[in-house]
């Protein structure tokens, strides 16, 4: 199985874990769930569409990261997943 991990559980960061998968699955667990859950899921969907990745299982444990942080962690995790395969 391919897997890529990026980020941390520090405040204002997030830990992104991506695995290859038959179906798209996005799980977000955030300390700001009540206020930003939907926006975070939407961001992840947009990034995955941009890089044409439809078959992944994404888990984000978020400690209040801003969108650009989440995006950067996600892209890095994707690269690491690809690299783990190579």
């Amino acid at each position: 199985m391919k897997i890529g991990i990026a980020g941390s559980l520090e405040s204002n960061d997030c830990l992104v874990t991506i695995k290859d998968s038959d179906v798209l699955s996005i799980k977000v667990q955030s300390i700001v769930d009540a206020f930003y859950h939907d926006q975070i899921v939407e961001l992840i969907q947009t990034v995955l569409e941009d890089v044409n990745m439809a078959h992944v299982d994404v888990t984000v444990i978020d400690k209040g990261a801003l969108n650009y942080t989440i995006k950067a962690r996600l892209l890095t995790a994707l690269h690491r997943m690809e690299a783990s395969h190579a």
């Binding site: 405040s11 204002n12 300390i31 700001v32 009540a34 206020f35 859950h37 926006q39 400690k63 969108n67």
Partner: protein
């Protein structure tokens, strides 16, 4: 029913009108009582309960000077449960995480009421879940003194953790293994409770100038240990090293300088948060370089202020509560480090409470809204995690009240359209300093005029909020439950907001 701030409050209760509404009211005082030297020493807590006539349904009080190291609250409550008492109300000036064992007593209705000024940890969570039978009442430090002296908060028995007692029945916070310094929050309990028990672990000869005079004391109970001295130290007494926090502190000092507030004979109070401590450090440097001496500093006193006192940068410290052991030591040794009661500190009905003499106060915030209302009682989901303490008291008293806060904390914008809970009314908040800009209350045209001549980044609160939204995104609306579990009582006794059950 709604109060003047548009906040929904319990029916039939006195609604908050404005922060100076109390000026139209008369001070109400119940009688103090005297025990005239009839202090008895009791053998154990069970005998103590019998002696003071503790009964179901009574209100018992505690102070929080031993903070997270206090052992007395848990000790007394544990005994209350073992003796089978029910329906007890706890009037504690604050409750901390170490009081977690009380949760079980709340659930089995040994404890059915809580009146306090600050509460965090397991009890706050349990109350938030709706476990407390009666509504939680949250006072300010000055407001609690007012509530006690007026009889709004009737205390049947005050159990006062006392670091040192003498054979006459006097008590002091200066000596003993748990010496915590001043005992300001216990003074109204001492004077107005129907029965007063000092609980101590240290007996000494003849205390001179006791904070707790034997004339009010009914009984003394000696125990093994009343507290852990390390737990007395406040959790937030480190100067921030975070560059954002330091920028906020620097800009705050620029504001103070522009308003000419740092000059000979000035007075100040600051909270114990990391940014506030950095502000004090910068102010201290200015005082040294310009040879300026302050008249007084007040509040919960930290070691930082002790350094200023010992270096002759400030004449007097008015101390209601020592935040660390250095402050406790200073209070014991230095005649210019003066103990004040919670009433003298912030009771609106005192002739001249110390807060009214403050040139400026620096305070924190969990949320601030477009009307400058501040929340330090709950988080953004409505979970209780603090309380006013002296926030609303100093904000009203000081000539200039400055809030220092990051614009965002863990993505959440601190500036909201409406705060989740109002602790301190916006009319008493003058300036809000964030790393992205400074907002000035439109009511303070004088401050706006002076500060707009400077290069400081002055923005409206709305502009600050929009910047936060640009960075973090607009938070989605969160609907709190409609089920009230308590209320926030303003210092004058009116109700400023309601607390709701957590979803």
């Amino acid at each position: 029913m709604k109060n003047n701030l548009g906040r929904e409050i319990f029916d039939q209760m006195k609604a908050f009108a404005s922060s100076d509404a109390f000026e139209q009211e008369k001070r109400r005082l119940i009688n103090t009582k005297t025990t005239e030297g009839s202090v008895v020493f009791l053998k154990n807590i069970e005998e103590t309960f019998k002696y003071v006539g503790l009964k179901n349904g009574m209100t018992i009080s505690f102070h929080h000077h031993l903070r997270n190291g206090d052992k007395v609250i848990n000790f007394v409550c544990d005994a209350i449960k073992k003796e089978g008492f029910k329906d007890i109300t706890i009037a504690a000036s604050s409750l901390f995480p170490n009081n977690g064992p009380l949760v079980e007593l709340i659930k089995d209705q040994t404890i059915t009421g809580i009146v306090t000024n600050y509460i965090n940890g397991p009890i706050a969570n349990a109350v938030g879940m709706g476990d407390l039978k009666k509504p939680l009442i949250m006072d300010t430090h000055g407001g609690r003194a007012r509530a006690i002296e007026s009889g709004d908060l009737k205390i049947d028995v005050a159990f006062i953790a006392t670091p040192a007692v003498d054979k006459e029945g006097n008590g002091s916070g200066k000596f003993g293994p748990s010496a915590c310094g001043t005992l300001g929050y216990a003074i109204q309990d001492l004077m107005y409770a129907k029965k007063v028990v000092l609980i101590s672990d240290y007996m000494t000869d003849n205390i001179i100038e006791p904070e707790l005079s034997k004339h009010y004391v009914d009984a003394i109970l000696m125990v093994d240990k009343i507290g852990d001295s390390e737990g007395i130290v406040s959790g937030t007494t480190k100067i921030t090293r975070d560059p954002v926090g330091r920028k906020i502190a620097r800009d705050t000092v620029k504001v103070l300088e522009a308003l000419n507030l740092i000059k000979d004979g000035f007075s100040m109070q600051t909270g114990a948060g990391g940014i506030s401590l950095a502000v004090v450090e910068y102010v201290k440097n200015i005082m040294i370089s310009k040879n300026i001496k302050a008249r007084f500093a007040s509040g919960g006193i930290t070691g930082q202020y002790v350094d200023m006192l010992e270096n002759n940068l400030v004449d007097t410290l008015y101390d209601v509560q020592c935040f660390d052991l250095k402050a406790a030591r200073s209070y014991r040794e230095n005649r210019r480090h003066i103990a004040i009661s919670a009433s003298k500190y912030g009771n609106p009905f005192e002739d001249n409470p110390v807060v009214n003499d403050l040139d400026f106060v620096i305070l924190g915030a969990t949320e601030v809204d477009l009307d400058f209302n501040v929340n330090v009682t709950t988080d953004s989901l409505g979970q209780i995690m603090g309380g006013s303490g002296g926030h609303a008291d100093t904000a009203h008293g000081a000539k200039v009240t400055i809030i220092v806060t990051n614009l965002l904390k863990a993505r959440l914008p601190i500036i909201k359209e409406k705060v989740t809970c109002v602790t301190t009314p916006g009319e008493d908040i003058d300036i809000v300093v964030t790393e992205r800009g400074i907002a000035i209350n439109p009511l303070r045209t004088d401050l706006i005029e002076t500060l707009s001549k400077t290069k400081l980044p002055i923005l409206t609160m709305k502009e600050l909020m929009n910047i936060a939204h640009d960075i973090a995104g607009i938070p989605s609306n969160y609907e709190m439950s409609k089920e009230p579990i308590g209320y926030v009582r303003y210092r004058d006794g009116s109700i400023i907001d309601t607390l709701y059950k957590i979803k």
